[in-house]
Structures are given as C-alpha cells and as structure tokens.
C-alpha cells in the first residue's frame, strides 16, 4: 500500500469572474522513503494539489469537486476538519518557501518546536525540550541548547529553514510536504538544505512531496517527478528517465528553457570604456549597533561598451547596492563613478537629470516596480515626455513602437499592470527602461521572480535589445547559470568586496578564489 495515493483530485475556485479549475483530475502516489517532486510554473496547481488534500485552501471560493486522497488507507478528503487538524503537523508535516513568515516572530524557536510535541504527543515540557534540542542538532543547528531560546529574527535565512525542518520533523511524520523550501535561499545554502532533506528523508524513512519550479534542484533530489501544467499532470516518470527522455512537449519546453551553455565573449576593445568605477564604497547605518557597515567596499571595475557584465554574489553581498550607487539611488561614501568622462558622485540630483536619460535600471520584481495606478501608456509615456523625447502629439506612436520592441500586444496600451502576467509586466518595465534610449542599463535580478520558460523569453529579449540598441548592461544576479549564458564577463562579490573579475569562460574554467569555487559547485546541474 502506498503511503499516499491521490486519485482523480479536482479542485475548482468559484469566483465572481467565473470558475477556475486549479487541479484537474490529478492522480499520483507517494511511497514510504520516496521523494516525489511536483514541478510546474506558477499557477500550474502544484501547491493547490497538496493544500487541497490537507484542507488548507480557502473554501469557498475553493471547492474540491471530486477525488480521493488515501493516506495509509484513510481518505483525507472525507475527514472532518478536526480529524484533519490532528493529521496535519503530526503525521503529515509541511515546510514552506519563506521560513520567516512561517515562524511566529514573538515566540522563541524552542517554544515553537515543543508545541506540537506537547499538543500531539502529550510530552512534558522538559521531555519535549530534550527531544527538540536533539532534533535541532540533527538538522545542523550548532549549539542547539543555547539557541533554543533564540527568536526567529536572530537566525539567518538558511538556519531558519533548518528550524522549520526540525519543526516539521518533530512529531516523526510519515509524509513531508516541502513547498519550494529553497527558493528564497542563496545557492550555497540551498545546497546544504537539499542535502539535509535527502539525509533526513533517508534516516527517517520519510515520504516527501517536493514542490518546486527549479528543475535542476529536482533532478538532484527526487526519485520521481510529476510535471504539472494548468492543473493537469502532463507527465510523470522516474527522474532519470524524465530528464533523459522527456515525452510531453511541455516537459521538453521546460527543460529547454533552463539556462545552459556559455556566452561566447565578444572581442571588446579596451579603449571603449563606458563606465569606470573606482574605489566605490557605500556604507549603511546598522540600527542595532549604531555603527556603519560597508555594503560596498572599495570596488573598482570598468564596463566596456556593448558588453553584458555580470555581477554575482549571494544575498547581502552588496551587489545590488553597487548598481544603486552607480545610479545614485543610494549615496556612495567615497570613490568615483566616471560615466562619459564625468564623475557622477559629486553631481547634485538636478545635475544628474540629463544623465539619467542615458542610464536606466530594470528591477527584480515587476509587481513592485510598476505604479499600479498607471496604464501601460502612462508608464511608457512618462519618461518620453519628461525628458522631452516626444511631444503630446507623437507620444502615442512612440509608445506603440516601444511596445512592439518589447513584445507587448499594442491593444494592451490602456491596461493596468495587474492585468498582466509577471513576464508581461517585466516587458513593460523593460520598455520603460529603454524608452529614453539609454546607453547603460543596470538590470537588478530582472528574471529572478519569473518562471523558467518566461525567464528564457525575457533573457532572449534583453539580448536582442542589447544588440539592436547597442546597449551596455550591468547584469546583477544570484543565478550563475543565467549569468553564464548571458554575460561576457563576470564579477564575483562577497561581503561588499570584488573578489574575482574574469571573462565568463575563464571564470568557469579556472576559478581563482575558494568562494567562487564553492559558488560554482553549489549550482544544481541539469546536464
């Protein structure tokens, strides 16, 4: 008997705008000691599938129309809310994407860990404490006994995810559902967490459902893979077979969209320097200690015309701050940013205005970087009109041209941002950035928030625009595969310092620094 056997599960959402089938006749099984990965893009129903069977979707508007989910011979879908509650967090545990929002910030870690033991297992407080500390140790939290009384904000992202895992495992569940558990983490931390999940799955003989959009991660971890699209299972197979011989066209498309390969460096002539950054240092005030810490520490580099320069590092490394300091969105403390023979740092904001036209930024989150109350037309027309590049009369034509440029449907001109998908929104943001025909574009993680197939489209668009408009791009990213496929040269940033700066080819062939080697080896590989 399978640990969990889901048959013909269908979940619909009944909203004012009609009925959406989020999960459409989905069947699968998970065995003990097996990791089943569910992959798909956002909105494919991979999370809703799992939430449905645990009774965690809002009902209404959600409604489970049919199907069964047999967990050790009992149908989860037929259970009452109180029966389900006993199973959730006891026999079936979950871990989520963002450990910070899943932990109660007002309770110490220990308090939150022992709670299920006392609640589900009738442990005494002191027994529970011993067990919790044991498990924290097992999950790789060093000095567990001391950290038992720490609060969530005192842990780093990776440590918090370890705490979440410890919390999930504390009742010795039989099934663990992990919903994108490493998506918010840095690549080196991700590698550690994946290793931990695999180890614990083995030692506790867990069944694991691993929900992810990241095919490379899935390939490293899962025994079997279920590919979902628009609520349906399009393909399911053992991992090896699925990756070596994908059957369904959608799976093939997904695999093809994973960034691979390496950009062939252009011949760049040394005299064509667009941007010369010298000894850039930016500090921020740390509110806790009252001291200033260096987010960017004495960074010097030159950007050549028409190149795509990658800027990689983990979160908190200061890579975004470098981009923002160049554009003077944050004030740098010292150094020089020479653009077209002019040092930008001493300029006032007013003096910057004509230069801003020539350097633009693309932001990570297309949901946050567009004004929700401006239509596409307003958003794209604003820079044109403001910098006097169009008049009231001809602005509409120019906006339409821009929309063509970034692959937006001309008919969408009067729509608001929320009416677009993430990829389309990023196209609007790109359109806004190239509207003033800038020479330099700083792209801050422009594809990190996007699905893999959309990511590929946006990257293709960026490459095309760089060629077409002779742009130079500083591409900030934590995703090394993307950087490898896109960039001519790469800078590696750690703790605000530039530690390695090489051509892409050279960096992958012979990384000089230990940190770079760690980064490169932590990337899950698909081929």
């Amino acid at each position: 008997m399978s640990l969990l056997k889901v048959s013909n599960l269908t979940t619909r959402f009944h909203t004012r705008n009609g009925v959406t089938t989020a999960v459409d006749d989905v069947s699968f099984a998970v065995e003990r000691g097996e990791i089943l990965a569910i992959v798909g893009e956002s909105g494919s129903g991979k999370s809703v599938t799992c939430y449905s069977m645990l009774g965690l979707i809002p009902m209404p508007p959600g409604k489970i129309e049919s199907g069964s989910a047999m967990f050790e011979g009992r149908d989860l879908l037929a259970m009452s809310e109180s029966e389900l509650r006993d199973i959730r967090g006891d026999e079936i545990a979950m871990i989520f994407q963002d450990p910070m929002t899943s932990l109660n910030p007002f309770l110490s870690i220990g308090e939150q860990l022992v709670e299920p033991l006392i609640y589900h297992r009738a442990y005494s407080r002191s027994e529970a404490r011993v067990r919790a500390i044991e498990l924290m140790e097992e999950c790789g939290i060093v000095r567990s006994a001391e950290r038992f009384d720490s609060y969530p904000h005192e842990f780093s992202g990776g440590m918090r995810q370890r705490v979440m895992i410890a919390m999930a495992l504390i009742t010795e569940p039989k099934l663990l559902i992990a919903d994108e558990p490493t998506t918010a983490l840095d690549v080196t931390i991700q590698a550690q967490i994946l290793e931990l999940v695999a180890k614990l799955q083995d030692s506790h003989d867990l069944g694991v459902i691993f929900i992810s959009h990241d095919l490379a991660v899935v390939k490293e971890l899962a025994d079997r893979v279920l590919v979902m699209k628009q609520g349906q299972v399009v393909e399911t197979n053992v991992t090896q077979a699925l990756f070596s011989a994908p059957q369904h066209p959608y799976t093939q498309e997904l695999l093809a969209a994973v960034p691979k390969g390496q950009k062939q460096s252009n011949d760049l002539t040394a005299d064509s320097i667009l941007l010369d950054v010298q000894g850039l240092t930016t500090t921020f005030l740390d509110r806790n200690s009252g001291q200033r810490f260096k987010a960017v520490d004495d960074v010097s580099f030159r950007v050549q015309k028409n190149e795509i320069l990658g800027l990689v590092g983990e979160s908190g490394s200061g890579k975004s701050t470098i981009g923002r300091s160049i554009l003077k969105l944050v004030e740098a403390d010292s150094g020089a940013v020479i653009f077209d023979q002019q040092d930008l740092l001493p300029l006032s904001q007013r003096q910057m205005v004509p230069l801003r036209r020539r350097m633009q930024m693309i932001f990570q989150d297309p949901y946050a970087s567009l004004n929700p109350r401006m239509t596409v037309f307003d958003t794209l027309a604003e820079p044109l009109l403001y910098h006097g590049l169009a008049t009231r009369k001809n602005v509409e034509g120019k906006v339409l041209e821009l929309m063509d440029d970034v692959g937006l449907d001309r008919r969408a001109i009067k729509k608001y941002p929320h009416e677009f998908s993430g990829g389309q929104r990023q196209r609007i943001a790109i359109g806004r950035a190239i509207a003033t025909r800038p020479e330099l574009i700083i792209a801050d993680e422009p594809v990190s928030a996007l699905d893999v197939t959309i990511q590929k489209q946006i990257l293709d668009l960026l490459v095309e625009l760089v060629k077409k408009h002779n742009l130079t791009m500083l591409f900030v990213s934590h995703d090394l595969s993307v950087v490898r496929a896109l960039c001519d040269r790469v800078m590696v940033i750690q703790h605000g310092k530039l530690i390695e700066f090489e051509s892409t080819e050279q960096l992958w062939k012979a990384p000089q620094q230990q940190y770079t080697r760690d980064l490169l080896s932590a990337i899950p590989q698909i081929d």
Binding site: L329, Y416, R432
Partner: protein, 292 residues
Amino acid sequence: MSQAALMEAEQGTSLWADAWVRLKKNKLAVFGMSVVGFFVVVAILTPWLAPYAYEAQDLELGATPPSAAHWLGTDIFGRDLLTRIMYGGRVSLAVGIIATSVALVIGVAWGTVAGYVGGRTDAVMMRIVDALYALPFIIFIILLMVVFGRSMLLLFLAIGAVEWLTMARIVRGQVLTIRSQEFIEAARSMGLSTPHIMLRHVVPNSLGPIIVYATLTVPQVMLLEAFLSFLGLGIQPPQSSWGLLISYGAETMEDYPWLLIFPGLALSITLFALNFMGDGLRDALDPKASKD
C-alpha cells in the same frame, strides 16, 4: 515649469477618467452622489424654495407635529421645521465640505512631504503636528475668534485647521509604505523631480485611506460646528444648522420627538450618501478593485 505643469495635468487624466467611468457603473455610488447633489442644490436654492422665512415665528402655534401647512411640524417658537432644516443644511453642508476640503488639502500636502522627504524634515513637520494636537481645541478656536472676530469663513478655516492633523498622520503613514516600493525608485532613476514623483506616483497610490477618512471627517466637522455653535462660537440663532437643530431637538425629545427625528434624518441620509460615494470613489480609483 509651466510646460511641465501642463504636461502633468494632461498626463494625469487617464486615472481619473477611468475612475469616472468605473464610478458611473457603481449604482450605490451614483445613488450616493445623486443624494448629495440633490441636497447641495436644495441648499443653494433654499432662499427661493423654502416655504417660510427661517426666522418667522408663530408663538401661538408653538410646537406642532407634521401637518399639511408645516410638513415636518414646527418648533416651540412655531417656526417651520422644514424651512429650518433647509437653511440649516446650507450651513452644515458648507461647513462639512469646505472644512473637509481645507483639511484634505493641508493634510495630504503636509503628510506627503513629511513622509516622502523623510529624515529631519519629517521629524520637524510631525513634531509640529504633535504640538498642534496638544493644543486645546476650544482655546484655539476662542483665540481665533478673539483675534479675527466672529465670521462664518473663520469657522470653516478653524475647523479645517484642526482636522488636517489626523489626515496628515494617515497620509504620512501611507506614504512611508509607498516610498519604499520599487516603482518609486524606478521613478527616481528615471530622473523625475521630487514634486512630480509625489504628485504622479505617491499621492494617487495613497488615495484609498484618504478618501475613506475624508468621508468620515464630514460628519465629524458637522457635529463640531454644532458644538461650537452651542458654545456660542459658531453661528447664532435665529440662524440654524443641522447640528444645532439636533442638539435642541434632543433637549425636547420626549415631548416633541419630530424636532429630533427630522434633522437627525437629514444628517444621517447625507452621511450614508457620502459614505456610498466615498467607497465608490475609492474602488473606482483602484484599478485592481473592479474588473469590468
């Protein structure tokens, strides 16, 4: 500058134009607007429409319940209640609308600048607000009356000048969350000037709570006016306002309930209508709220 201002005005049309289209589709909001509109028109035309003069007394008649001659009855001096409510509406609506507008303009401008510019400017501006909060309202009004003499306009300004404080705080809070969003950074990296960013990107996105609070301010200032009038600082009998009618009506509630009921109805209907209108406006100004 003039060119930029012109551009701004022209650019700014599409959100409001779209909002107007959406507002017209919201039946409740249209109903609210019609009611408010009707009351405003009646208030303006009262001198021609009113069946009696507002100070006309008929002491022999005294307080009578509604009748054919006096549709809403008369008060203890035999004055026609309908007439007094109509004249009272002129004062109350004017106070409500003008004082709220004053509060709105000052509060939004103050709160936006404080919240957006931040730092020391913010600290100084908000301490001024705190200081004014601490000032006893009545003493403030009495001082104004003493210095400038009693006038209707002053009353409006005085109430507005007090009500903007809360508005400024609400707006500032809104602006603080909006300021940290990426689209503001995008606007800055585009080289847009600070006033332009405030006008085009910050204020439109903080309108929701502003509108709701504004609709709540209207009844508040109407009652405040009654309170001031009661103290002898606002308008004087035989002039009237809804607030005054209600407070006198409340005194004689047991004997002549209609003296409380009808002015009370006038006030509540207006408030309901304003709330419908405010909610509709808030939804209409949020492109995400209604999907048509």
